[in-house]
């Protein structure tokens, strides 16, 4: 039994989210994962961008950083290297992470920086009232796409796998226990952990029923180290698989790489040392 309770991680601020928003389940799952891992709240820092889900840090009793749109990853990366003892978590939505901030994901993956990135994907821009996002299905009619959106949605799991992300998972707000287990595994991963959470927007794009119908857990015999198998299952769009697609602990995390490099650094000789060498 954990000595800590999920309620310890709760701030006094009431979420701004609509009743029924998928993000409540993510907030609860993260608090539960923190409690189970018994991480003291003040040793956790949560960084976010802009959007409904990015209000997240205010609702936690941890160190929180609600930055500008699209930059939770570099912000969190700076925090992690600034103080590697911290448990740093980056959070945000699909617009924040895949559109304006999409350029940061491959580099977080290349560095294998030791932090989980939880994207609450509602397939829509909720805070600005329902414009199509990078994961909105093509043809979706909204005020900003009155004739149907012309872009195809991107596949976040395929993208993360292609970038070489060492931990890739998909969860669903409608499956809170599984969600908490996946977030806990992401927190324990010694590298960059990408978690796409299907987190419906009840106001502008209510997909709870849709996801209940089309999602299912990854097959029991699925091998998390088999990249090609992960890619095959990630390509499926009629069935969306939930669970951990990839878990590769063979690569060093960024902070570890920095430590290894530092241990090998030999300072360049100063003028006096060079002169002395020649004098001998």
């Amino acid at each position: 039994m954990s000595k800590r309770k999920a309620s310890e991680y709760q701030s006094g601020v009431k979420p701004i989210w609509c009743p029924g928003c998928g993000d409540y389940a993510v907030l609860n799952a993260l608090r539960q994962a923190f409690a189970e891992l018994e991480i003291p709240p003040h040793e956790i820092a949560v960084a976010s961008g802009i959007g409904c889900s990015s209000r997240f840090p205010a609702f936690l009793n941890t160190y929180g950083f609600h930055g500008v749109h699209g930059r939770p990853l570099p912000l969190a990366t700076g925090m992690k290297v600034g103080n590697p003892a911290l448990t740093v978590v980056a959070v945000g939505g699909d617009g924040d992470g895949f559109s304006i901030g999409g350029g940061h994901i491959p580099h977080a993956a290349r560095r294998n920086i030791e932090l989980p990135y939880i994207v609450m994907d509602n397939n829509i821009y909720g805070m600005t009232k329902g414009q199509p996002s990078p994961t909105t299905p093509r043809g979706t009619q909204r005020k900003a796409s009155p004739y149907g959106s012309l872009e195809d949605p991107l596949n976040p799991i395929m993208m993360a796998l292609a970038y070489g992300t060492t931990f890739v998972a998909r969860a669903f707000s409608g499956q809170p226990k599984e969600l908490a287990a996946i977030i806990k595994a992401a927190l324990l991963h010694p590298g960059f952990a990408f978690v796409q959470v299907l987190s419906p927007c009840v106001t502008f794009r209510n997909t709870y029923q849709h996801y209940r119908e089309i999602t299912q857990p990854l097959p029991e015999d699925f091998d998390r180290t088999d990249l090609m198998a992960a890619m095959r299952l990630a390509q499926e769009t009629e069935t969306l698989y939930r669970g951990i697609f990839r878990q590769d602990e063979s690569k060093l995390g960024y902070v570890q790489r920095v430590r290894e490099m530092r241990a090998q650094v030999k300072p360049l000789a100063g003028v006096d040392e060079v002169v002395e060498q020649y004098a001998r």
Binding site: E8, S11, G12, V13, P41, H42, E43, A45, A47, P57, A58, N61, T62, Y63, G64, F65, H66, G67, V68, G70, R71, L73, P74, L75, A76, T77, G78, M79, K80, V81, G82, N83, A85, L86, G103, H104, P106, H107, V258, M261, R262, V265, P267, L268, G270, V271
Partner: protein
């Protein structure tokens, strides 16, 4: 480690290298940047040197990531810096505003080149002066210093970290390609002689869960600066770029907004005497005063010295801090001076500021960038002003 951070001794060093050494001597332990001419040597020197002193150098994916990462590192307690040039500074503007709003200490080095747009990547410019002051949206204040030699970029980079920490404000080093690539003698003092101003830390222990929350944006009355609690020190801090109350929570009201924005500006005004730096030559009896800064100030000093030698009553005011603008000093000079000359490698950005402050004619010696303004051109302007 400490002796590796401060390379005490006499060196022959470029301005970009001296800037990097100033940062290390000041205790900078995180650099996040993106390659851009003519600032790249700052990054390359730190890439080699930071790991020697236990720091981290990170080449980020773009300038937006660079500045976001230094803000993260600042919140985690590190002295952190980035270096760029005009186009990169443009990309950093949104996060620069965030740094102002969150009062996160950090240093941005801008080695200016010919602008606008891609402009003259390998040639000097001084046209980011207004971008540095007003480039982000909203009303705010920042601090900017303009060094005129490799030695001074070393000294001012240390001052930049101290001012950033002491007043919780982003500080810019607004240098230029001439100073960045010029190689001169740089004297680095012993480590114990490097000035160090501390960040103010919280004065009470972290509150317990059942106690009222820690007020991370409650400013002290004397200097208007709130103490800072870093991540991991036990305090619950919430940073948001939204208008926030003293606890740090969003408070979307006109009253809170007006109070917060006014304090962020008043904080710099109230402490201006500790931030502003200028240097005057021959000002006592000057009828005409030349105002200049950065690389152009080198030409201005020679022009003024030669004019003085010819018996012309001209003085020289060098702006070391550009922002906050040394308004009082210039207004005082206007009581006795008949005419001002502003020499700068842009088409009149600082001349506008001088014109705002004085009821005297202000003559400009300008160039859009690419070549140093010669002492002869400034000398010519002095002659015209005197014989007017």
């Amino acid at each position: 480690m400490k002796e590796r951070a401060v390379l005490t001794g006499k060196h022959f060093m470029s301005g970009d290298d001296a800037c990097a050494e100033g940062a290390l001597a000041a205790g900078c332990r995180y650099f996040g940047g993106y390659p851009i001419t003519p600032s790249t040597e700052v990054a390359e020197r730190l890439a080699r040197r930071l790991p020697e002193v236990g720091g981290v150098y990170m080449q980020m994916e773009d300038e937006l990531g660079s500045i976001a990462s230094i803000l993260g590192a600042a919140a985690a307690g590190a002295r952190s810096m980035t270096a760029t040039s005009g186009p990169g500074l443009s990309l950093m503007q949104e996060n620069l505003g965030l740094a102002v709003m969150l009062e996160l200490p950090c240093v941005l080095v801008d080695i200016q080149r010919g602008s606008p747009s891609t402009g003259l990547p390998t040639m000097a410019g001084q046209s980011d002066v207004m971008q540095a002051r007003w480039g982000s949206h909203g009303d705010y204040s920042v601090v900017a210093y303009a060094p005129w030699s490799p030695q001074e970029i070393f000294d001012l980079t240390i001052l930049a970290f101290n001012v950033a920490d002491r007043f919780r404000v982003p500080v810019l080093i607004l240098s230029d390609e001439v100073i960045g690539h010029m190689v001169e003698r740089v004297v680095i003092p012993p480590a114990e002689q490097i000035p160090h101003w501390e960040r103010k830390g919280p004065r009470q222990p972290p509150p317990a869960l059942d106690e009222p929350p820690y007020r991370s944006f409650q400013a002290d009355e004397d200097d208007l600066v709130p103490p800072i609690a870093h991540a991991g020190e036990g305090y619950r801090v919430h940073f948001t770029g939204l208008t926030h109350n003293e606890i740090g929570y969003p408070e979307i009201t006109p009253e809170t907004h007006d109070k917060l924005v006014r304090r962020l500006i008043a904080k710099i005004q109230r402490n201006a005497d500790q931030i502003i730096r200028t240097e005057g030559y021959y000002l006592e009896d000057a009828e005409v005063v030349v105002i200049s800064y950065g690389c152009t100030a080198r030409s201005a000093r020679r022009a003024v010295r030669e004019a003085r030698e010819a018996g012309i009553p001209v003085g020289f005011l060098r702006l070391i801090s550009l922002w906050p603008f040394p308004e009082t000093q210039i207004k005082d000079l206007a009581c006795t001076v008949k005419e001002f000359i502003v020499a700068e490698m842009n088409l009149g950005q600082m001349r506008l500021e001088v014109e705002r402050c004085v009821q005297r004619p202000v003559r400009g010696v300008h160039h859009a960038g690419g070549e140093l303004i010669t002492p002869e051109r400034i000398r010519g302007a002095i002659q015209e002003a005197i014989s007017r």
